[in-house]
């Protein structure tokens, strides 16, 4: 509904012109039929048809797909998941409204702030103090998104920018993980699978099972591979995202850890944030390359950095920073992967022949 709010420039222009010309007495009969027609008919630019997809529909569809990981988060982390998601979304939308007000721009409820808030919540630990969650949301929207010009102009993924900011401020709190507890306030601290102190269960089958279903410590939305696959699958099926980034990202992680001595590819793909990152973060339109070639480079780069940080770096997880790093490279990738227009080949051939 938002994208079709009527502020037609053409209509306004068409209506103003005859009014100015009308005589001061302004008898109704004096307005000729031609002028009446000019008021009656719109002049809009071709094409006069528009596809079903609009910005807000796309945003809300992504939010809808994210409801699967969110539902898994609520199932495993109960009240904590609900409060973190609610606080993140409400403060994101409120910040967007306030910043637009300050900037003197219209606030459009296009769903992008809701999406940023929810995404941020899903990459945070369940027991993070709620005031920190709110600060993360404010930073995501006010600094990472709006300070760069708002939707469409931001360089970095707002949710991941917010998470990186929170980690920089409160490292201990943002890396304290709890075991799934359902609807209970009794949180027991645990290590994530990628942490050094993680004690794997004796049975690897059980480890894979827990990772797949999400019955394991970690960020709210990252734990359940199953829920992410359902949500991501929906986005692929309705054409919101293309396969290029998720497949190359996950594929690169799997391949690298497969050839890296002593690493388990299946574990690396399912543990931590690779799945959520590959389907929901790296595919963010604004901050990822626009061409197919660029998307493939982007996905491979994300996978590369993730694995290097995980195995060689000082931090247990590298998804967030890998995507932020590749976000920074996106304009460069776009520049070097421009499409070759139809007819360029034959033009070059003709000029080389003389």
């Amino acid at each position: 509904m938002t994208e079709e709010e009527a502020t037609p420039k053409e209509e306004a222009a068409a209506e103003e012109a005859p009014k100015e010309e009308a005589p001061a007495e302004a008898e109704a009969e004096a307005i000729s039929e031609a002028e009446a027609l000019r008021q009656r008919f719109l002049i809009s630019a071709a094409p006069h048809l528009k596809s079903w997809y609009s910005t807000s529909k796309i945003m809300y569809l992504v939010v809808a797909a994210l409801l699967f990981p969110t539902a898994a988060a609520v199932y495993f982390f109960g009240f904590y998941a609900l409060t973190v998601c609610a606080v993140a979304i409400v403060s994101a939308v409120a910040t967007e409204w306030a910043v637009k007000k300050i900037r003197g721009r219209p606030f459009i409820m296009d769903g992008s702030a809701v999406l940023t808030g929810l995404l941020l919540a899903l990459v945070l630990p369940p027991t993070l103090p709620l005031w920190m969650v709110a600060i993360g949301s404010v930073f995501s929207i006010a600094i990472v998104k709006e300070a760069f010009g708002g939707l469409g102009f931001n360089i970095f993924n707002p949710a991941l920018g917010g998470r990186a900011f929170l980690m920089a401020c409160w490292l201990a709190e943002t890396t304290t993980w709890v075991a799934p507890m359902g609807f209970s306030w009794d949180a027991v601290t645990t290590a994530t699978p990628l942490g050094l102190s993680f004690v794997p269960p004796p049975d690897t089958g059980m480890l894979y099972g827990n990772l797949f279903l999400g019955n394991i410590g970690g960020s709210l939305g990252e734990t359940s591979v199953l829920a992410i696959l359902i949500g991501g699958g929906i986005l692929l099926a309705v054409g919101i995202i293309s396969w290029h980034i998720p497949v190359t990202y996950i594929g690169t992680v799997a391949l690298l850890t497969f050839i890296w001595p002593g690493q388990d590819p299946l574990f690396h793909v399912m543990a931590g944030g690779v799945m959520l990152g590959a389907f929901f973060m790296a595919t963010d339109y604004v901050t990822s390359p626009i061409t197919i070639k660029g998307k493939i480079i982007f996905g491979i780069g994300c996978g590369l950095v993730t694995v290097i940080v995980r195995i060689l770096g000082g931090m247990p997880e590298g998804v967030c920073f890998s995507i932020l790093l590749m976000n920074a490279l996106t304009p460069l990738i776009d520049r070097y992967t421009m499409t070759k227009p139809l007819g360029l080949k034959s033009l070059k051939k003709a000029s080389s022949e003389g």
Partner: protein
């Protein structure tokens, strides 16, 4: 050999709703209007000078506008009667103003003596081209480029293939579809004349597969005819913009028309089915281009396909179709993807008017680009519409040129697919105009 040629492979373009509601409506002749308005320029090229002045008596088919220039096409009176005045209107294909002559009918519709070819079978190429030019025939798919120019390529361009364009990929429009069904013989005969003029090795007829009845009908006519046996019908997957000249050449022949080039640079000439019929009517009946088939559709009470005298005001067409529906607020000349909106009901049907689409338009608000890349996915010319828009918005027209803005065919697929509702084509048109202006001042 099989008449149908099979093609495989995916290609770019937008899946637009077809909305061909008049596909089954036979062509009805519109009752002759009391008055017609003949613009002196209805084509791309030089404007004609009027040959008659106010008060003069003219006959139907009499030439009333002509130009010395090569790229031009004369215009003819489409009613008999008196020249009753003139004014100025916009020529849809170019957007420039052009003079008009109005003819008030004497009600008799007296024709000039029609000079048909004495022996159409053995006409010389020169004579064909002369007759086509005299008849004022232009590309009737909408671009309205003078046909005689396309029939005489420069000597160094060898034409090996002619493609008859029966795609009609624009939603709503069914004029070409009905022409193929009801005037199939004339279309094939016109195509045969085109073949005589250009002497290509191959003749293709490209039709979208949503017009299976037209494909079958032409197939049957070809198998029965004595001259058209080697015409190949190519059924094409319905996807906008198949009927765009360069796209059609790429799809059928796999050839890329060079940037800034013409189809003849890759040995191809494309002609529309309506044009082929007009060529037949000229050669075999001596008729100049005075009428055409127009689809009147959308928010009118009874959508129809009409045979209309050129110059008939839009008002007559819409009234004959029962008038507009409640809430209709936009009139588009042409299809919804490339058509031009018009507000004046006295505006005349011109040679390039394939459709009058009446619709209820809801104005949309442009939002910021979110770099989703849908415009890249659909662009048949493999351009980067989002990039061109960004450059054009900031006045960087040189950057637009470097990104091949002039390769854009303005099909509108990008703006159709854009979720941020950015009028991409409009920005591109502005960039092109600015570049032309800069070149002119240099």
């Amino acid at each position: 050999m099989d008449i149908r040629l099979k093609l495989t492979g995916a290609r770019r373009g937008a899946k637009v709703p077809e909305s061909k509601i008049t596909a089954a409506s036979p062509i009805e002749p519109l009752p002759l209007p009391e008055k017609v308005i003949i613009p002196m320029q209805q084509h791309i090229g030089a404007e004609n000078a009027p040959l008659a002045s106010r008060g003069a008596e003219v006959l139907t088919g009499q030439k009333i506008g002509e130009s010395e220039k090569f790229i031009s096409a004369p215009v003819h009176a489409t009613l008999s009667g008196e020249i009753s005045g003139g004014s100025v209107v916009i020529n849809p294909p170019t957007g420039e103003l052009t003079k008009t002559l109005a003819i008030t009918s004497d009600g008799a519709d007296k024709w000039v003596e029609l000079a048909k070819a004495k022996d159409p079978k053995s006409l010389s190429v020169k004579k064909i081209i002369e007759m086509v030019k005299e008849a004022g025939i232009v590309g009737m798919g909408g671009a309205a480029f003078p046909t005689h120019v396309k029939l005489q390529p420069p000597k160094d361009k060898k034409i090996d293939s002619v493609i008859l364009n029966g795609c009609e990929c624009e939603p709503f429009v069914t004029a070409d579809h009905r022409i193929m069904l009801e005037y199939g013989e004339q279309v094939l005969s016109g195509l045969n004349i085109i073949r005589k003029a250009l002497a290509p090795q191959n003749v293709y007829i490209g039709i979208e597969d949503n017009k299976e009845d037209a494909i079958e009908h032409l197939e049957e006519l070809i198998s029965k005819s004595d001259f058209a046996r080697d015409f190949k019908i190519v059924p094409l997957k319905s996807k906008y913009p198949t009927g765009a000249e360069k796209t059609l050449i790429e799809v059928i022949l796999g050839r890329e028309v060079p940037i800034g080039g013409l189809p003849m640079d890759v040995g191809v000439v494309v002609q529309n089915v309506g044009t082929a019929k007009a060529i037949h009517d000229t050669i075999f009946e001596g008729k100049p281009l005075v009428e055409r088939v127009v689809t009147v559709t959308g928010a009118v009470k009874q959508p129809k396909n009409l045979l209309v005298r050129i110059g008939t005001p839009l008002r007559n067409l819409i009234e004959y179709c029962g008038g507009m529906e409640e809430g209709a607020n936009e009139i588009i000349l042409g299809g919804p993807m490339m058509g031009i909106a018009h507000f004046d009901l006295d505006f005349p049907v011109t040679k390039g008017t394939s459709c009058v689409l009446v619709r209820e338009s809801v104005p949309v608000k442009e939002q910021e680009c979110i770099s989703c890349g849908r415009c890249l996915q659909v662009c048949p010319m493999r351009l980067m519409p989002t990039l061109l828009t960004k450059y054009a918005k900031t006045g960087r027209y040189d950057a637009c040129e470097e990104a091949y803005v002039n390769n854009c065919v303005e099909c509108g697929s990008c703006a159709y697919a854009c979720p941020a509702r950015i009028p991409i084509v409009q920005y591109i048109k502005v960039a092109k105009k600015e570049l032309v202006k800069r070149k002119a001042t240099k």
